[in-house]
C-alpha cells in the first residue's frame, strides 16, 4: 500500500488502509464461531443487561430444587431425601420447556427479524451449516440447563459420605442416566423449540408457538387419556413432547412412573426412546428444510 507511506496532511493519526495478509480460516471456523456466539445468546450474553434476566432466572429455578436438597441433606446429616436423580426432570420439566420457548427465538428469530441472515449467508458458510450450528448451540444450552442441577445433586451426595471412593462407586450406577437425561431433553424439547421458532421472524410469536407446543398439548394429552380406551389411551401421553422426555428419562433410570400418572400405562422404554428419536429427526428435518427454502 503506497498510501501507508505518505502521511496524510493534517491527520498524523491516520495510518491509512492496511490490507490483511494473515490467516483466513474457512467453513469449520465460521461454524464454530456461530456455534459459540449462539450458545452465549441462549444465555443472554453479549446482548446487554436486559437479555440476561429470562435465561438466568429460569436457570436458577432449574437449580433451586437441587440446592434445597443439598442444603436439607447437609442439615439433616444425610437423612432428608426430598428429591433424587430420577425425579429431577419431573420437577424442572416446565422450567426447561419455558427456557426453550423463550430462548430458541433468540437464536433463530432475531436474525430473521433484523434481517441479519444475508450477512451470514454472504460469508463462508452454507445455509445448512447455519441451521446445524444453531441446533448444536440449542442442544448444548439445554444440556447445561438440565445437567447442572443433577451435578449439584451428585456433588451434594458425594460430599455427605465419609469414604469418597466408596461413595463414588455407589453413585457410579447413575452416571449414564445423569448424562443421558439432559441429552433426551435437548434433542426433543430443544429441537422442537428451535425448529418452530425458525418459522417466525417475530420473537413473541415464535415463543407463543413453542410455548403452545409444550404447554397446550399437556391438557390435550390429559383429556385424550381420560376419554379414550385401549391402546389410544395408552399412547395419549405422547401427544405432549415433555411427557415423552419424562418417560424416556424414567426409563434410563430404570424407574416406573408413579401410580395414577399419565405415563403409568405400561408403555415400554422402546416406545419412549422411539418417540424421542422420531421427534428429534422430524423437527431437525423441519429446521433444515426451513433454511434450505428461506429467501433472504
Amino acid at each position: 500500500m503506497p498510501h501507508a507511506l505518505e502521511p496524510a496532511a493534517g491527520a498524523i493519526y491516520d495510518i491509512g488502509y492496511r490490507t490483511y495478509e494473515g490467516l483466513r480460516e474457512g467453513r469449520g471456523y465460521a461454524f464454530r464461531t456461530l456455534y459459540f456466539h449462539s450458545l452465549r445468546a441462549a444465555f443472554g450474553l453479549n446482548r446487554g443487561g436486559r437479555a440476561l434476566w429470562v435465561p438466568w432466572v429460569l436457570f436458577a429455578f432449574a437449580c433451586f430444587p437441587a440446592a434445597v436438597q443439598v442444603a436439607a441433606s447437609a442439615l439433616s446429616a444425610g437423612m432428608a431425601n426430598l428429591i433424587s436423580y430420577h425425579d429431577y426432570f419431573d420437577a424442572v420439566r416446565w422450567t426447561v420447556a419455558l427456557f426453550c420457548a423463550a430462548q430458541a427465538p433468540e437464536l433463530v428469530s432475531r436474525d430473521q427479524q433484523h434481517r441479519t441472515l444475508p450477512l451470514y449467508f454472504s460469508r463462508p458458510l452454507r445455509t445448512g451449516d447455519y441451521a446445524f450450528a444453531k441446533l448444536l448451540a440449542m442442544w448444548t444450552a439445554v444440556v447445561i440447563l438440565v445437567l447442572t442441577p443433577l451435578l449439584i445433586l451428585l456433588v451434594g451426595r458425594l460430599s455427605m459420605q465419609m469414604d469418597f471412593g466408596a461413595a463414588l462407586r455407589s453413585e457410579s450406577q447413575f452416571f449414564v442416566p445423569i448424562l443421558v437425561t439432559p441429552v433426551l431433553a435437548a434433542v426433543t424439547i430443544g429441537t422442537i423449540a428451535l425448529a418452530l421458532s425458525s418459522l417466525f421472524a417475530r420473537r413473541g410469536i415464535a415463543t407463543a408457538v413453542a410455548f403452545g407446543a409444550f404447554f397446550m398439548t399437556a391438557p390435550i394429552a390429559e383429556i385424550l387419556n381420560e376419554t379414550l380406551e385401549g391402546d389410544p389411551k395408552r399412547y395419549a401421553a405422547l401427544v405432549n413432547p415433555v411427557n415423552v422426555v419424562q418417560g424416556a428419562s424414567l426409563a434410563v433410570f430404570d424407574k416406573k412412573p408413579g401410580r395414577g400418572d399419565i405415563l403409568d400405562v405400561g408403555l415400554g422404554p422402546e416406545v419412549f426412546f422411539g418417540a424421542v428419536a422420531a421427534l428429534a429427526v422430524a423437527f431437525t428435518l423441519l429446521l433444515v428444510v426451513r433454511y434450505r427454502r428461506i429467501r433472504t
Binding site: Y20, L23, R24, G26, A30, R115, S122, R123, L125
Partner: protein
C-alpha cells in the same frame, strides 16, 4: 481474467418474476457504478454473485470461480452491504463487526484489530461501544459498510448504500465509497437507481433494465463531454432561442426546452438577461450531461439530469 464474468445469466424467482434475463457482462477492477431503476435486477445480480441465489440458467464467475460451485471461496473475499437494515439493535457496533469478521475467517485478535480500524475508517469513534439500536440511519449505514470491509475483501458489493440518507449523509457515504475504491484498492460494485449520484465516484458504469444489460462503458469516455444547460419557459421558447443565438450561443430546441452548452457561468447571465428583456416566465433551469443521458437513457437517464444538475424554478 475479469473480476466478474456473467454469461447469459437468467434468474427467475419462484412465482415467475424474471429478475435477470440473459445478462452477459464482464467487470474489471475499479469502482463500478451499477445503475438501473428499482426492480431492474441489481440486487438479484449481487445475490447471485454471492451464491445467495442460484442462477436459473447461465453462468457467472467471480475471481474466475464459478458461483454455483465455489461459493465458499468467493464469499471469503467478497464484502456485501445489503440495501435493507441488517443490524441487531441490541449489540454494540464493535461486538457485531468483530463477530462478522470472525464469521469471515479472521482469527479473534485480528478480527478485533480490524474492527477498530474499520469503524474508525467509516467515522465511528466513541459511539462504537454503544448498542446499534440507538444509532441514526447514517451511523447504521457506516456499520453496514464496516462489516463488509472488516475481512479485507477483494470485491465489495454495495447495494444502494445511499438509500435513506439525507444529502449530507449521501455525500459522506459516496466519499467513503470513493476512498474504499481508490485508496484501499478494493474493487467496488456499487448500485444505485440514481445515475447522477454515483457517476461522480465511479470509473465504469453498467446500466441494466429489466434484467438485461443496456449499457456498459468506462466513465473516461464521458470526460470530454460538455455540460448542457436546459432552460424551460412557459412560452416564447423560439424568441429565447433567437435572442441567445444572436448573443453568440449555440442554442437548440428539445421539446419545450432550450439547450445550450455550458462551458462556464456566462450562459446563466445570458438566459437571465434574455428572459428579463422578453418578459418570459422561466419554469426551470438545469444542468445535464447530454451524452451520458443518451447512453443511459431510460430509466437511469431519466433521473440523471435532475440529480446531476440543480434545478431552478422562477
Amino acid at each position: 481474467m475479469p473480476l466478474i464474468s456473467a454469461r447469459d445469466l437468467t434468474h427467475v424467482y419462484p412465482g415467475g418474476v424474471r429478475a435477470l434475463e440473459g445478462l452477459t457482462l464482464d467487470v474489471e477492477p475499479g469502482i463500478i457504478g451499477f445503475v438501473g431503476a428499482n426492480g431492474a435486477g441489481k440486487s438479484t445480480f449481487m445475490k447471485v454473485l454471492l451464491g445467495l441465489l442460484k442462477p436459473t440458467s447461465g453462468k457467472v464467475e467471480v475471481f474466475g470461480l464459478d458461483t454455483a460451485t465455489r461459493g465458499i471461496e468467493i464469499r471469503q473475499r467478497v464484502g456485501y452491504m445489503p440495501e435493507h437494515d441488517c443490524l441487531p439493535p441490541d449489540m454494540t457496533a464493535t461486538d457485531f463487526v468483530s463477530h462478522m469478521g470472525r464469521m469471515s475467517g479472521l482469527p479473534k485478535a485480528a478480527a478485533r484489530e480490524r474492527t477498530a480500524e474499520m469503524l474508525r475508517h467509516v467515522g465511528l469513534y466513541e459511539e462504537r461501544y454503544r448498542v446499534i439500536g440507538g444509532y441514526s440511519t447514517g451511523m447504521k449505514q457506516r456499520v453496514k459498510l464496516a462489516q463488509a470491509l472488516v475481512h479485507d475483501p477483494r470485491l465489495l458489493l454495495l447495494d444502494e448504500p445511499t438509500n435513506g440518507l439525507d444529502p449530507a449523509g449521501r455525500e459522506e457515504m459516496l466519499e467513503l465509497v470513493r476512498r474504499t475504491g481508490q485508496e484501499f484498492g478494493i474493487a467496488v460494485l456499487v448500485s444505485s437507481h440514481l445515475l447522477g449520484e454515483i457517476e461522480r465516484v465511479c470509473s465504469y458504469l453498467i446500466a441494466i433494465d429489466g434484467g438485461r444489460l443496456t449499457n456498459a462503458a468506462p466513465l473516461g469516455d464521458f470526460t470530454g463531454v460538455q455540460l448542457i444547460l436546459a432552460v424551460e419557459v412557459e412560452e416564447g421558447a423560439e424568441a429565447l432561442m433567437g435572442r441567445l443565438a444572436a448573443a453568440g450561443f449555440d442554442a437548440r430546441a428539445e421539446g419545450d426546452a432550450v439547450l445550450l452548452p455550458l462551458p462556464d457561468d456566462r450562459p446563466y447571465d445570458a438566459v437571465r438577461d434574455a428572459a428579463a428583456e422578453l418578459g418570459l416566465m422561466l419554469v426551470r433551469m438545469e444542468q445535464r450531461r447530454d451524452t451520458l443521458q443518451d447512453l443511459f437513457r431510460a430509466p437511469a437517464g431519466a433521473s440523471a439530469g435532475k440529480e446531476a444538475g440543480h434545478a431552478a424554478r422562477a
